[in-house]
Structure formats: C-alpha cells, structure tokens
C-alpha cells in the first residue's frame, strides 16, 4: 500500500482498531479470570462479559463501535495491568481514578468493571432482555447508552437495577422508577430515557449526543452545561448545510465520515476554552462549536474527522519516534496555536490542515462565493498553505521519524507542495486581506493595521510568528515561506 493510500483513502485501520479493542477486551477477561485481582469482585463482570460475547455479531458490533467501548476497554486494560503488575500510575489514569472517586487502583478497577454494565444495558434494550444485576450500576447522570440513540438524562447519581424488556428499572433519590424511552417528565432533574437527534443523510448516520463525553476524568462535558435539550436538534440544519459543502468539494470525506464518525456534540462557541475537540480515547466522536457559518462547520468536520483518522492510523504504527506517553515536551512553535506544542501535536496539525486545505482550494476553484465570503474562502486557502509550510519546516528540522513514518512524511511534503502549486494556479495571493469568522458566524477582517486598513494574510502569519515563536525556531520565515 502506498503512502497516499495509508494517509488518505485506506479504510482498513477502522476495522483493525475495533478488532484490536475487542482482542483487548478478551485479554482483560482472561487475565481477570486467571488471576482474580479483586478476589471475586470481578465475578459479575465475567458473567456479563459472557452475555455480551454471546450476542449476535451485528449487535455486538453496534455496541463495540460506540466511542464508549474503546474508552472503557483501554482503561480496563490499563487498570487490570496495574493491579496485576503495579508500577507508577500515569497521570491520565490518576485523573480517571479521581473521576471515579478513589485514588486506589483496585477500587478503581472494581468501579470501572461496573461501568461495563452500560454495554449490557445497551444489549438488553436492543434485544428486549429482562435482567437484574447482582449489584445495581451506580453512576452519574447524564450518561450515554452505547450503540443506541438513547441517553439517560437528569441530575445527580442513579442506580440502574436492571431492565424489564424495553424499560430500565432504576432507583433515584431512594425512589424506584421504571424508565421508558420518550416518556414525558415534568422536572428536568428527574431521570429519563431520551433519544438523541439523529442526522441521516444517504448512508450517513450521526448521533448528536453530548452525553457521550460525560465520562470520568474527562472535562469535555463542561461545555454542555446549562444547554437546553433542544440545543443539538437546533444545529441539524447547520450540519446539513456543512455536509452539503463537503459533498460538493470533498466527497470522499463523506465516505470516511460514514465509516468512522458515530457522534458529534455541539456546544456554544463561547463555552469552554476550546473551539472544537477530539480525544484519542473517545474515537469516532468529537465536539464542535456551533459557529453559524456552514463553511466554518465544514472545515471543523473535516478537521476533526482527520484527527480521528490519524488516531486510527497511528494505532497501527507510529510516524514519529519517541512519542510514548509522557516522553514528549511542548517546546515547538506552531503557526496554529499561541502555546508551544509537542511534535506529535504539530504532526496532527499538518495532517489535518492538508485535508482541510484541499477543501478550501476546491471551494476556491468552484468560484461559488462572492464578496466577503470569497475573501474568507481565499484567506483559508492561502493561510493553510503558509501555515503548512511552517509546520512542515518544524517537523523536518526537529522530528525523528520511524522507518514507515519517513515515507508518510514525504507524502505530506508532496501534499503541501501540491497545495502551494494550486495556490499559484488559482492566482491566490498572500497579500490579500486577512479575513476570519467571528464566533457568531459573521465574517470580518482578521485585524486592522496601523494605517486603518485590514492586514494581509501574510502579515498576520508573520505577526503570529514574531509574537509566539519565542525560541526563534522559524527565524528564517521568509526562506520557509518561499513566496517568490
């Protein structure tokens, strides 16, 4: 397989990663069965594992491709490994244990095995099975039921006792309740089973389900606090418009979205410190700011899809050397960020901006926009090329690549050269006025210069480097940009 296929077209890594995660699940089960680190505390999990393993393969796959299943399995693997062979606990695992309310890994493993019951709840709701757990699942609301469009909403803690056909039996504030999907409740704090909005477009099906990110140790759910239950459904038209742009300008991306993206959650642009975010531990899901501009959303969709795709590619083999957990330092200038970044961050940025850059160049070539919309599309097309040249120069100078990584990096260099050639062919100029999208979706000049006129795209790139390249790693910026 050539480097282009590996980076952009091959869908093999998706299947391989889900299979690898299922293999890790089997390894966890066997390790717990053989070694019993919880002295019998693992028995209910082992019994429930047998039920999930016996499910029809389509049902198992539906549950297994949910982002929660990877998150759960990775932590189960690490916590089981830690309990059997203790060694210093990584920071991420410490944060997860703290999120579960303990700093003791055996207790954390016991609590984590309980969370597996969310997969069993999904299985029971899909198959209409009656079940009572030996111990109720005690967890925090809201939570997502993996592999389904269902979430349990509400506030506070809840105990899920079992399922009764299509209903869940729960205890909330000492009161027993039976929850059926869609049943109306008067008090928004009360537990209830709701279906999330689904976006269906030809073969594409995406759940708009912020509860997916309500996971211990993950702060991502902060951005959804106080949102109305209708917030996600209110974004579906914006999402449809963005998908139509992608279909027009980069149709192959839609195929990858169909294969890879399970969940999107929208948040207000001003909520939390980030705009959009993907987590390698929650693959197939991402959070987008609902900036009311379809081109901005299309850019965000491609961007986050490619972060997720790169997680899958890297799972099959690293591109950079020395990127094991905790081994990297954030000390490299990035033209996309105000803070210094690790090389793996720069690699992610280069990869996703090559893909996003191709979208903007296709939009430019179509000639479909005029006025400030055209100015914005041109800004993004040119900005991608200039920033990519800096990102490539940083990686070329500072990174050490694996054997296969050398070939993939060369392909990325060729991609950036192609985009630079496309910029010339489209007569796009770095001297054009810089244009950006405000959080309300309005397009405005990137910044005003001392002469009261909008600064150029090139000037904005140079100014960023002057301000944030604190180690002067790109002191030869003119040479790097090579604009003659």
């Amino acid at each position: 397989m050539d480097a282009h296929e590996i980076l952009w077209t091959d869908t093999g890594p998706y299947q391989q990663r889900y299979e690898k995660t299922a293999t890790a699940l089997m390894a966890v089960e066997r390790a717990l069965h053989l070694r019993r680190p919880l002295n019998g505390g693992e028995d209910e999990f082992l019994a429930l594992y047998t039920c999930l393993a016996a499910a029809p393969s389509e049902t198992f796959t539906t549950i297994w491709e949910d982002p929660f299943s990877y998150f759960w399995t990775r932590l189960a693997y690490e916590l089981t490994g830690w309990c059997l062979n203790p060694e210093p606990l990584p920071d991420v695992l410490k944060a997860y244990c703290a999120g579960l309310g303990t700093d003791e890994p055996h207790r954390a493993l016991a609590l984590h095995l309980e969370e597996f019951k969310k997969c069993i709840i999904a299985l029971d709701l899909i198959s209409g099975t009656h079940r009572r757990f030996d111990r109720p699942l005690r967890t925090e609301l809201p939570f997502s039921i993996p592999g389904t469009s269902l979430s349990m909403l509400g506030q506070g803690s809840i105990e899920v006792v079992g399922s009764n056909g299509r209903m869940l039996e729960v205890v909330h504030n000492g009161k027993s309740l039976q929850l059926r999907a869609g049943a109306a409740v008067s008090d928004s704090d009360r537990p209830r089973l709701v279906e999330c909005p689904l976006l269906r477009d030809q073969d594409l099906e995406i759940k708009l389900k912020p509860e997916t990110f309500n996971l211990p140790g993950l702060d991502a759910a902060r951005g959804f606090r106080g949102l109305s239950e209708n917030y996600q459904v209110q974004q579906t038209e914006l999402l449809r418009e963005a998908l139509a742009l992608i279909e027009r300008h980069q149709p192959a991306t839609l195929e990858h979205m169909r294969e890879l993206v399970q969940v999107i959650a929208f948040k207000p642009p001003g909520a939390d410190e980030y705009s959009n975010v993907s987590f390698s531990d929650v693959p197939g899901a991402f959070i987008l700011s609902a900036v009311r501009h379809p081109y901005w959303i299309a850019d965000g969709l491609i961007h986050e899809l490619l972060h997720n795709r790169l997680f899958f590619i890297l799972d099959g083999g690293e591109i950079l050397q020395d990127v094991r957990e905790t081994a990297e330092r954030s000390e490299f200038y990035s033209p996309w960020r105000d803070d210094l970044r690790p090389l793996s961050g720069l690699l992610h940025a280069v990869y996703v901006y090559v893909g996003v850059g191709k979208f903007w160049h296709a939009a430019c070539a179509s000639g479909e926009t005029t006025g400030i919309q055209r100015q914005y599309v041109e800004d993004q097309a040119v900005r991608a090329v200039l920033q990519l040249k800096i990102g490539i120069a940083q990686l070329r100078r500072h990174a050490r690549f694996t054997e296969s990584g050398i070939l993939l990096f060369r392909e990325l260099e060729r991609d950036v050269d192609s985009l630079a050639a496309s910029m010339r062919k489209l007569n796009l100029s770095p001297a054009a006025p810089g244009t950006t999208a405000r959080s309300d979706g309005q397009l405005v000049p990137f910044a005003m210069g001392n002469d009261g006129r909008p600064v150029s795209i090139l000037y904005s790139i140079q100014s960023h480097a002057e301000k944030f390249d604190v180690h002067r790693q790109c002191a030869n910026l003119t040479e790097i940009l090579n604009l003659d």
């Binding site: 796959t61 793996s344 950006t436």
Partner: protein, 62 residues
C-alpha cells in the same frame, strides 16, 4: 493534486465475531495477556503506553 476517489473505498465494515477474532488474532491475544499477567520487563505488546492525544483547537476567532 491527486484525487481521492470513491473507487478506492471499501463498503461497510464486517461485523466483529469474537470467536473468529480469537482464532485469527491468537498471537495478539496471547501477547496482550502476557503483558497483563506476566512479570514486568518481559517483552510484549504495550498498547497501554500509546500516547493519548487531545486535539483541541484554540481558535483565533475575532
């Protein structure tokens, strides 16, 4: 630029069948089990140490 046509794409993925996976990935399963259960320092697959990554955009929005 090179095109990324649909012709190179595969269609929907196959379902995951655990029993089949257990046979087809026996080596990987044993390697993972070894990493979980054997004493530290032995060679084995180390998926648990793969770097986590949070790709968050701190957008320069006006």
């Amino acid at each position: 630029m090179r095109s990324e046509g649909r012709d190179t794409m595969t269609k929907k993925r196959s379902p995951i069948i655990l029993e089949k996976l257990k046979r087809d990935s026996a080596g990987k399963l044993e390697s993972m089990l070894a990493e979980l259960t054997e004493v530290p320092g032995k060679p084995g697959n180390k998926p648990s140490r793969r770097r986590r990554f949070i790709a968050s955009g701190k957008a320069h929005m006006a």
